[in-house]
């Protein structure tokens, strides 16, 4: 794939092409983000609106009040838990798709994409039906005498984790498939010829070589989870209110404290950008590692 250098078009026409989309994104996204940043240093006074002073009090409030700070930790921790569980579910599915000689892979892809492209509200609704007090899960658990009375899955930590894992499994699987497919069969075969058993092949060849895919999948799912908004809002209950994006929403729409909401938004942006930048650096160095190991394998 070679990017062409010379253009048959007039040298500077790219400005004409670029101007309209750049204008749209500048006016309606970049400029609003600057306003948001600016607001985060202002002071919202209930009933009086926003005071045009420069203050760090919104940030100080966030980082000194244990309630908000804990919210940040809860959000980041939940991201970690969800990523790990999602990975455990998604890896075998991705591996099966990528590496077995299953004939009807088209059907598998349809089965992965159908829940992936189903609207998130519908998926949450499905789980509300399943996990409710009168839901099937509770009925089964009670009838098998595993619990005495219906457990409140919804509006609890377990429910949110479960639904988040559910929603991210197809995404994680699709991200893993590519990297597992890139592992050369010849590597696996040579390990077998050299006498490695199934578990050994998996542990020494397949797993190390799928680490770049695992990492990039984990980053994408992690950033999606820490910015998650609809799930904690709908089924999070009191616990969901501690989620950073929900706290921002509350201050935006309920208490109308726009400057504090803006400060939370800025903190959310900085957190997820930091995670994306640092971890993609790690992934890049990991990819180098894979190239080296491939060289050795040859």
């Amino acid at each position: 794939m070679s990017a062409p250098m010379k253009s048959p078009f007039w040298k500077r026409t790219y400005i004409l092409f670029l101007a309209p989309p750049l204008l749209v994104i500048t006016i309606f996204l970049i400029f609003p983000l600057f306003i948001l940043l600016q607001y985060s240093f202002r002071l919202s006074v209930p009933g009086e609106g926003m005071k045009m002073v420069f203050t760090l009090s919104n940030y100080l409030r966030f980082f000194t009040d244990a309630y908000y700070l804990n919210g940040l930790w809860i959000t980041l921790g939940t991201g970690f838990v969800v990523v790990v569980i999602t990975l455990l579910f998604a890896y075998p599915v991705a591996y099966f798709y990528a590496k077995t000689r299953f004939r009807r892979r088209g059907i598998l892809l349809i089965m992965l994409l159908s829940p992936f492209y189903t609207n998130v509200i519908i998926k949450i609704f499905g789980w509300m039906v399943l996990l409710g007090r009168q839901g099937i899960v509770n009925k089964l658990l009670v009838s098998f005498h595993l619990i005495d009375r219906p457990f409140e899955f919804l509006y609890s930590y377990i429910g949110v984790i479960l639904i988040m894992v559910y929603i991210h499994i197809p995404m994680m699987t699709l991200l893993l498939i590519g990297s597992i497919q890139n592992i050369r069969d010849s590597l696996i075969e040579s390990a077998r010829i050299c006498g490695s058993k199934n578990l050994g092949v998996f542990r020494d060849i397949i797993l190390p070589l799928s680490i770049p895919g695992i990492l990039s999948g984990s980053i994408i799912v992690y950033t999606s989870v820490i910015a998650a908004f609809i799930i904690p809002l709908m089924v999070g209950g009191d616990w969901g209110k501690r989620f950073i994006s929900v706290m921002m929403y509350t201050h935006m729409n309920v208490t109308q404290n726009w400057s504090f909401a803006s400060a939370i938004a800025v903190i959310l942006i900085i957190t997820s950008l930091t995670i994306i930048v640092t971890s993609s650096k790690i992934v890049k160095s990991m990819k180098l590692g894979v190239l080296i190991s491939e060289k050795f394998a040859r």
């Binding site: 794939m1 990017a3 010379k6 253009s7 048959p8 026409t13 790219y14 092409f17 670029l18 989309p21 749209v24 994104i25 309606f28 996204l29 970049i30 400029f31 609003p32 306003i35 948001l36 075998p92 599915v93 099966f96 990528a98 077995t100 000689r101 088209g106 892809l109 349809i110 994409l113 159908s114 829940p115 492209y117 189903t118 609207n119 509200i121 519908i122 998926k123 609704f125 499905g126 039906v129 399943l130 009168q134 499994i169 197809p170 498939i177 497919q181 199934n198 578990l199 998996f202 950033t223 910015a227 609809i230 709908m234 994006s245 929403y249 935006m252 909401a261 938004a265 942006i269 997820s272």
Partner: protein
């Protein structure tokens, strides 16, 4: 392949995960045929009363039209922006190109909820209260990266000699674009606009901040409905949407092959 304990474990875990993925969807479809208010499964009988209910009451059908209109305009504009942007980014070399590429990928990288809040504040300050345009603009912003990606991908794969030949033969730029470039990048254009339409239609987070009383999109309408009521009417509308999704995916698989779209082998 030979069957071994490891292989058996792999197949078993796959069966479990696929069942897990389909469980809530099947339940939703199941209870949409419930004859009563009961949300239990299996339903006590079969009826279409909830399907009749959602068409009798206009709130879901109205919201459906809003979603379609918004998704249509958003994807058309995102497509135009995507074509222009991809032409500049793929066909030209200029300073600060990576920076500009990153700017256009921002809506993907930014938490969607932040995009929603920022745009809400902006529109409020500007006193801009046309909710249709608010909503469509919000959706254009979040779908632009996807049209750029798919159109750029097909432009990258296309040799410039076609355009050069056309220009050498005396066609002007507009003719070249219309007759040569457009047909050749058609797969990218179709994929990009479909993706934009789906993303816009499915969006909840940005919509939630930008809707007005008369421009409630379908997913937001369902969400608001669930705040107050919990009956099989939501299951009925969900069943229609799930069917549309699955049919769309199967058609995409038959026509172009999903593996090509999803960039997996």
């Amino acid at each position: 392949m030979r069957s071994s304990p490891g292989k058996l474990l792999l197949v078993a875990s796959n069966v479990i995960v696929y069942a897990f993925l389909f469980l809530p969807l099947l339940i939703v479809v199941g209870i949409s045929f419930s004859p009563t208010y009961q949300m239990g499964f299996p339903p006590e009988g079969l009826s279409l009363r909830w399907f009749k209910y959602i068409f009798d009451r206009t709130e879901f059908t109205d919201a459906f039209y809003v979603s379609v209109i918004v998704a249509f305009f958003a994807s058309v504009f995102a497509l135009i922006m995507g074509v222009l942007c991809s032409l500049a980014l793929v066909r030209y070399k200029f300073r600060g190109k990576t920076f500009i590429e990153n700017i256009f990928m921002m809506p993907i990288i930014l938490p969607t909820v932040v995009t929603g809040v920022a745009m809400l504040q902006f529109f409020s300050i500007m006193g801009f209260y046309n909710f249709w345009i608010r909503l469509i603009l919000g959706h254009i912003i979040i779908t632009i990266p996807y049209t750029i990606r798919s159109i750029s991908a097909s432009l990258y794969g296309l040799s410039m000699s076609y355009e050069e030949a056309s220009l050498v033969m005396g066609a002007n730029y507009i003719q070249t674009f219309k007759n040569i470039l457009m047909p050749l990048i058609k797969p990218g254009i179709i994929a990009g606009s479909l993706l934009a339409f789906i993303i816009s239609f499915d969006n909840v987070t940005v919509s939630l901040f930008l809707i007005g009383a008369k421009t409630v999109t379908l997913p937001v309408r369902i969400m608001l409905y669930l705040d107050w009521q919990f009956d099989p009417s939501v299951a009925a509308i969900s069943t229609i949407l799930i069917s549309l999704t699955v049919i769309g995916i199967i058609i995409a698989e038959r026509i172009v092959g999903l593996a090509n779209i999803m960039k997996v082998e």
